[in-house]
Symmetry: C2
Subunit: 289 residues, 2 copies
Amino acid sequence: MIRYVGRLQTSKKMKADTHHKTDLSPWRVRNKSKVLLDEIDTFLPEKFFGKSDDLNERVEKLSEKLNKFQNLLYASKNKAVLLVLQGMDTSGKDGVIRHVFSHVSPLATHAIAFGAPTELEKSHDFLWRVHSKVPALGNLTIFNRSHYEDVLVTRVRGWINKPVWEKRYEHINNFESLLHDGGITILKCFLHISKQEQKKRLQARIDDSQKNWKLQEADFVDRKLWPDYQAAYQDAISATSTEQAPWYIVPADSKPERDFFIASLLVQTLEDMELALPEPTFDVKRVRL
Amino acid sequence: MIRYVGRLQTSKKMKADTHHKTDLSPWRVRNKSKVLLDEIDTFLPEKFFGKSDDLNERVEKLSEKLNKFQNLLYASKNKAVLLVLQGMDTSGKDGVIRHVFSHVSPLATHAIAFGAPTELEKSHDFLWRVHSKVPALGNLTIFNRSHYEDVLVTRVRGWINKPVWEKRYEHINNFESLLHDGGITILKCFLHISKQEQKKRLQARIDDSQKNWKLQEADFVDRKLWPDYQAAYQDAISATSTEQAPWYIVPADSKPERDFFIASLLVQTLEDMELALPEPTFDVKRVRL
């Protein structure tokens, strides 16, 4: 088992202005190690931030930075990034996409939401609809839910049994390895909220008529199955966190902390990819207009 | 023939702070009327703006407004918007997507770039690959080039003859009528630049090594075919500008003017759609957590 919080290390190169070198490795699930969600805090530790930090402002700055890197990724056209977002209802998947990408142009950034599969999708293997949506080289794609639903809701609602979901873990690892070999950097984030926080957020959606439309009856069924979902999540995360496609447990009871975490993770990842503008395909200097 | 410029009308409801009620109808091609691109200015008339206006700032504000409307569109899930961008190389299709959507989250906004068709795409009718990318209800999709390439480059390079492209105009009108009936509001923008302005922009891409990667040898072939392209564009635009899917000739020699025009067009269009939050699907107030 991993104790994430408490192992916090601060990189020597961390810059005070952006903090984009913040060490996020304590929340990275090491290669197929066992995760116990109950023992992981849903907030970041206090010492993670300075006192007077305005996190929302820092997220905005990181979003602008992300936009610059994304432009470079688009130009280079030889690598791609896939961000997978998973979490219980109200954990903030939509919110992350709104805030972290607030300054990123949609030129080569795509968010794909996976809902209940259609009849056509159900007539194929569970990775079929997902494969068709993975980023082309030069693109950054966000999966708002993903192929992981096929080892989560399907398991909790009793539609598949253990041999099936265990076999699916294998298929997922093989599939993600294929994507990795094709030039895609994969990041998977579990938005980790407490049951109390979910109650607060659902209540807010009930009380505020402007938020009513976000509610579905299934949300309340799923809430009653909370322990089963946590078990399904921690098994799936443990079985599929690899070097090539790691999971991060993102403390998500605080929205600004959650956004800051994911914005930092993306900026650092893109930075480490050492993207460069491609060479022109012909002798540009010889052109006469 | 339509003389766009000179017919400028200013809406009585226009607000000084955002100018989003600017009357853009002089640049809208009326139902299948004949367009003569040579006679349309590539700049907006001076009286269109106040003197001290900072257009880039206004585009930013419009982009924020667009984001709010887009959130409503996403929530309502019963309408969609398709923006088609066409224009010669360097006319600013990428630039529009970058600037106009700078504050729009990618949650339900997708930009799709259509390049030369693949072997698989070529083995289908010319609308096949396009149909699969049209926006789902709740989404805003931008086509960066589109099915119109199949009556433009294909015609200019001599790959199809007149009966084929004229038949394709019909197919396009029928197709866009189908999309309209399915709840999609279609806007088509031709980014109208002068040949001189293209020369300046290509030269800038030659001179600035940071921009070299944007150049392709085909750009210079296409430039030599300028008059043929203009002829192909004006025929296609004339034949396919309908009430349901109108073309706009967007003066695009000035980047801020171009962005302001399209941002205004989108904001006004979304405003006129009278979007509203949907009703919840069950009795929310009876839920006890």
